[in-house]
Symmetry: C2
Subunit: 325 residues, 2 copies
């Protein structure tokens, strides 16, 4: 690979002059500048980002940690994070944590060793004290973290309220909510809170069910859903805390010959690709994933430049009406 | 952040001794080794990967380029590439090319500037001559590339044959195949070839349709599918070249009140998450995505160590029978 020296040799200029052109330092004539750029092109000279990064002791790389890349929500989120990072000339180092504690520690070490400019964490189980080691901005998405720099969330409470209100306005009298993982307190828990608030306001029968961690990690909820539907014959509306769960409710309904939306109405959460690929398509709460990704990148870059950033940013959600209600 | 000097100071040893411990060079007593590791732990010393990489002029980072991270096939593939890379102590720099030529050139430059150990390319439109600049191993997945180091594919021809055979054995007499993007020659085109071969062998009526690039980039095929079903009333089986297309066939059938699988049987391709999330679930050709990802990582690491690797590796596919047939 061509070096700065090769470019200097090709142009007959001193290495220091070529370096000044590259870093736009001091006075350089138009002619010299053109000579250098032509030689760079001819020799396919690529500045060595590692050398630059070493002298700056940081990189324009962002570590992104998610539990499951293949989960449609995270796939959508990563896609938007990459686009937002790219538009600011940053790159992403992507890690699958699968929510395993020891894997997350390893990843944090890797991020440190590679002098990332910051970390975006969407993974749930990392214990707080693990972050003592991190000395770059840490931005979380839909994840509480005492020691994080900033957290980006969607308005989960409002989302739960919108879902309940929509089901009630369509005439449902007996509601069920199925939420993600029990145990860890997560921002997504507010979806349930909002749902309960509205059910209480309207005096509508409601119950809340939580999936377990194995179900979450495998993404398989059908057994639980079948139990719910067989043991609660009067249920006429379900609010699922992800489109992945909602899609599986539709499958169980088809198996049990329950007509959606005639006999049972279903509302999901996230508004990822799968919500518009099912039959019927899924009415859902739209998370502004694109805007959340852009916000996380902006916060990270500002914080890494030493600016004070808001510790929590909540972006609005909306009801996306489709065929399941 | 603690440096090598700080570790030396803490232990009272020379910097060169600490460095020897870190790099396992020469004789070091057990006691010295323990002292150094304890001091590293205490000071939270993280070796600077950038400095190491600079002296080696390469990194343990792999550039991964896909057209659309959010597409279920690529999400699944990236997830498996990350796992395979991680188990070999490599990291991935992920890029969304959205199949735009100028974006891909920019990404290749970024990979060069960051001295990646190699590149895995799953993106379709990069013109051949762009790769003249690349001087690290370039592994393609499901993508022909004259100048690549090695290409990993699934047995697309066999996949097309399996799909056609399955539909014919179930009694279909009038088949349609809907394939990805027309234009560029891609390994996936062999799915159509295999499909046609079997239809001809069994003397079954068949026609092949191609989606266009806009449909591929947006992932929206419903209009095309509705046209096909309205203008070809006798069609009783469709082989779609992705599960994404197959899911949309199910949606159009629901709209047109065509019963699947009773009136129309549908076979997809890929076996990604969405194939088991639809109602009915999708019979599909299983791509060994995990094994393809592992193979790509192995080939890349071997090639970067100067070994000769096979220029093309084809992995087997299988029929995954579900409810749509």
């Amino acid at each position: 690979m061509a070096t700065l020296k090769d470019v200097a040799k090709e142009t007959g200029l001193a290495v220091s002059t070529v370096s000044r052109v590259l870093n736009s330092r001091g006075y350089i004539s138009e002619e010299t500048r053109n000579n250098v750029f032509n030689a760079m092109k001819k020799l396919n000279y690529q500045p060595n980002e590692m050398a630059r990064s070493l002298s700056k002791q940081t990189t324009n790389t962002i570590g992104v940690i998610v539990p499951h890349i293949r989960h449609p929500y995270f796939a959508e989120l990563i896609s938007n994070i990459e686009s937002a990072a790219n538009s600011r000339k940053y790159k992403i180092l992507l890690f699958n944590s699968k929510d395993r504690d020891e894997k997350e520690i390893e990843i944090l070490d890797m991020c440190n060793q590679n002098r990332v400019a910051g970390i975006i964490l969407c993974s749930g189980t990392v214990a707080m004290n693990k972050f003592d080691k991190i000395n770059v901005p840490l931005i979380t998405i839909e994840r509480n973290l005492e020691k994080g720099t900033a957290c980006v969330e969607c308005d989960n409470l409002k989302g739960g309220r919108l879902a309940a209100k929509h089901l009630i306005e369509l005439g449902c009298k007996n509601l069920v909510q199925i939420s993600g993982v029990c145990g860890n307190y997560m921002p997504a828990d507010s979806r349930e809170t909002g749902f309960i608030e509205v059910c209480e306001e309207y005096k509508i029968a409601h119950q809340e069910l939580k999936t377990n961690e194995t179900q979450y990690n495998v993404g398989e909820y059908k057994e639980l859903i079948e139990d719910v539907l067989l043991n609660n014959k009067g249920v006429d509306g379900i609010f699922a805390s992800s489109d992945l769960i909602a899609a599986q409710i539709l499958q169980v309904c088809a198996k049990l010959k329950i007509k959606v939306p005639q006999q049972l109405k279903v509302v999901g959460f996230d508004d990822v690709l799968v919500a518009s690929l099912t039959t019927p398509t899924i009415t859902t709460i739209h998370q502004p994933i694109k805007e959340m990704a852009q916000m996380a990148i902006s916060l990270l870059i500002e914080a890494s430049n030493g600016k004070i950033v808001p510790s929590k940013t909540t972006l609005p959600v909306s009801l996306m009406k489709r065929e399941s209600t």
